[in-house]
Amino acid sequence: MVRARPIEEAKSERARFYQIRYFLGYPMAASHAAAELVRHVDALIAPLRLRAVQIDLGLHDLGFELAVEVSGGGPRDVRRRLAVFLERLRHVPNITLADFSGPGPTTRGGGVRVFTVNGRAELQP
């Protein structure tokens, strides 16, 4: 009991040190992670087309939503091209999750199908 209180105080101060370091590094880590993610997606999207990217930042990771456009081709060809893209995406550093939001396109028309990919990536501050 005699040692308990100073121990708890010391632990609180140490916890605070790590919390402060995380707080100070977070903005740059978050913006870098967001920019890197979009840059990677841009590098591997072809021959598909990216209609939109949305990124939501959390405390330890970020969530992303991609609207991916596939033009032409039959259902099998579309599935193959999407599978290739998804596989490449899953190999991007820091991406921990990437998957389609549903089995089919979210919109279609004029030979164009738009699929939504949701995922998460680490910030690694």
């Binding site: 040692r3 100073p6 121990i7 010391a10 632990k11 101060e13 140490r14 916890a15 605070r16 040190f17 790590y18 919390q19 402060i20 370091r21 995380y22 707080f23 100070l24 590094g25 977070y26 903005p27 740059m28 880590a29 978050a30 913006s31 870098h32 967001a34 920019a35 890197e36 979009v38 840059r39 841009d42 590098a43 591997l44 999207i45 072809a46 021959p47 087309r49 990216l50 209609r51 939109a52 990217v53 949305q54 990124i55 939501d56 930042l57 959390g58 405390l59 501050p125």
Partner: protein, 281 residues
């Protein structure tokens, strides 16, 4: 012994056995089961007490070097927060330093303090922002400190007298070639305002792309502020928690475990695979 007497004896034995079985089922067995559970719980508790005693014996109290590190960290935190007179001053300061840092893009950037506040600006960009109005509004709401504030545990309950901790959302939009946008997003947090991206959206626009970001920033304000951070946090708030039982806290702080995050430029653009060079997606 006649049959009648035998059957009566048998019945008494069966009755006694039935009473015994009922006693076993309703009292003895549950009691034994509870005792077993209590023994296991006691064993777990004794094990935790032994483990804690071992850890406490290894506890390293802070020495002068560590105390200096801890004090420096508090000082860094204090210096990281801009001190302004009022909320508008923070907005103006954040805007000014953004435009100064991104001199080449200054004419392309819109900075706005509320969801519909982006003004006439550039026609194509503004029209696109209006289409995104609902999402931008939701993002501004999500960044309000009474809905979402990640740093409750980091700041002391009582800032210095006359100062209040505040946080407010800020919107940024621009239209530019993709590589320029990537770099812009990467650098958005580099200034003294330490803008934290809450939400970002990017869409192609001809040969360029358009983006809007909703960011938040923490600051100290001397005048009363509607953007004041309340120290108690709401439901569903994310929190920067440290496990109090972590062995990490039993030893001296190690700055290598929490290295400083430095400004980092994005790597040079990788070669374009497929698609048309210069074409956004």
């Amino acid at each position: 012994m006649n049959m009648g007497k035998l059957s009566r004896v048998l019945l008494r034995v069966l009755a006694a056995l039935a009473v015994l079985a009922a006693f076993v089922a309703l009292d003895w067995y549950p009691t034994v089961k509870d005792l077993g559970l209590l023994r296991r719980q006691r064993g777990d508790l004794e094990r935790k007490i032994r483990e804690y005693a071992i850890m406490a014996a290894r506890f390293n109290f802070p020495d002068e070097a560590e105390t200096s590190l801890l004090t420096q960290a508090d000082g860094e935190l204090r210096r990281a927060l801009p001190l302004v007179e009022n909320d508008d001053a923070w907005m103006a300061s954040a805007r000014a330093e953004l435009l100064k840092r991104e001199k080449g893009l200054a004419n392309l950037i819109l900075v706005f303090g509320k969801a519909e506040g982006f003004g006439p600006g550039r026609p194509g960009l503004t029209a696109w922002l209006r289409l995104q109005g609902q999402e931008i509004r939701q993002s501004f709401e999500a960044a309000e400190p009474w809905r979402r504030y990640l740093w409750h545990g980091v700041f002391p309950m009582d800032p210095a007298a006359g100062e209040r901790l505040a946080s407010r959302p800020l919107g940024i939009a621009l239209e530019a070639p993709l590589p320029v946008l990537f770099d812009f997003i990467n650098r958005v947090s580099w200034g003294a305002a330490r803008l934290e991206i809450v939400r970002l959206r990017l869409e192609p626009a001809g040969e360029s792309a358009r983006a809007w970001l909703v960011c938040g920033g923490s600051y100290l304000v001397t005048e009363p502020s509607p953007w004041r951070v309340k120290m108690e946090h709401g439901e569903g708030d994310e929190e920067l928690l440290i496990d109090r039982d972590s062995p990490l806290l039993l030893r001296k702080v190690d700055p290598l475990l929490a290295p400083r995050v430095e400004k980092k430029e994005l790597p040079a653009a990788p070669p374009v695979r497929g698609g048309t060079a210069g074409s956004p997606w």
